[in-house]
Assembly symmetry: C2
Homo-oligomer: 171 residues x 2
């Protein structure tokens, strides 16, 4: 089964991201707007209790995530993905690294770049047009996120939450 | 903000429901297949901590939900909704009633009929055709669900999980 670990921002911020996603993001209907903390990984259903306990113990260490979406960026030319850039912080880097190390499943494909995807699967021309527009509009949102979610993927590509973990620590 | 309380069945059973939902359910992309335990209700974001604690205390009382999806039924003529009927049990009735009483928000519109929706927003003719077909195919799935979810709705109609509660009691 395919799992991932994400942080959902506030409803208000998700609604903002969705105004773009519904037009430009092919995964719009598969999951609501989120920051991926641990990329999708395969795990056996029988291991999920252990994995969940590991995540719970990491979540206990961390305080709510302070996030600042500061601008619209793109992963072009690696992929034609446009996103709200979340300013990197030690806190985000550390929780990502803790999850990565503890689970040790699925080597990260990319350097961790915290973000909220707002457009993907665009042609090169679409990408250039839309990125030009959205970069001008920009984004500037700050908030704290007090929980993270372990999610799993159904056969149709959609994601369901398996468990939530409140961030109740000090780091 | 609009909230609801649901139980998601296993991935396998969700995948089965989605084979129908992707063709026949207008809400297919808004939430993955689920049993609604408490219908959508409005609550202030500032009250959600209290509501969440109330749900947690109820969840502690109950053992994992034993469910048996026994046949394909329809709410016609009330609505053109086709669903997997979940056999009513005291356990399901009690957890629904506890949630309803404790939250005391939004009178239930209908008698509680545990189900998983697989088709809705059909014309009368579509309903009759599809119901005829699906009733013949039928369903017979038994499983236990060890957690419930508090979900909230975004402006586009999609639902995000706020919190999960494991059913760790004996009832």
């Amino acid at each position: 089964m395919k799992y991932g670990i994400v942080a959902f921002p506030s409803k208000r911020f998700q609604d903002l991201a969705n105004t773009y996603r519904k037009r430009y993001d092919s995964h719009y209907s598969k999951i609501t707007p989120h920051i991926t903390l641990k990329e999708a990984f395969e795990a056996d259903e029988s291991d999920i209790q252990d994995i969940s306990q590991t995540i719970a113990s990491i979540a206990q260490k961390y305080a709510p995530l302070m996030i600042h979406a500061s601008k619209v960026s793109s992963f072009y030319p690696t992929t034609n993905v446009i996103y709200f850039k979340i300013e990197p912080t030690n806190q985000l880097q550390n929780i990502h690294q803790d999850l990565q190390n503890a689970l040790n499943i699925g080597k990260p494909k990319h350097v961790f770049t915290p973000h909220i995807t707002i457009a993907q699967d665009l042609t090169a021309t679409e990408h250039d047009d839309i990125f030009g527009q959205l970069r001008m509009i920009g984004v500037n949102e700050q908030e704290s996120i007090d929980r993270i979610h372990l999610v799993y993927q159904l056969e149709d590509g959609s994601w369901t939450t398996y468990e939530t973990y409140r961030l109740t620590g000090a780091e």
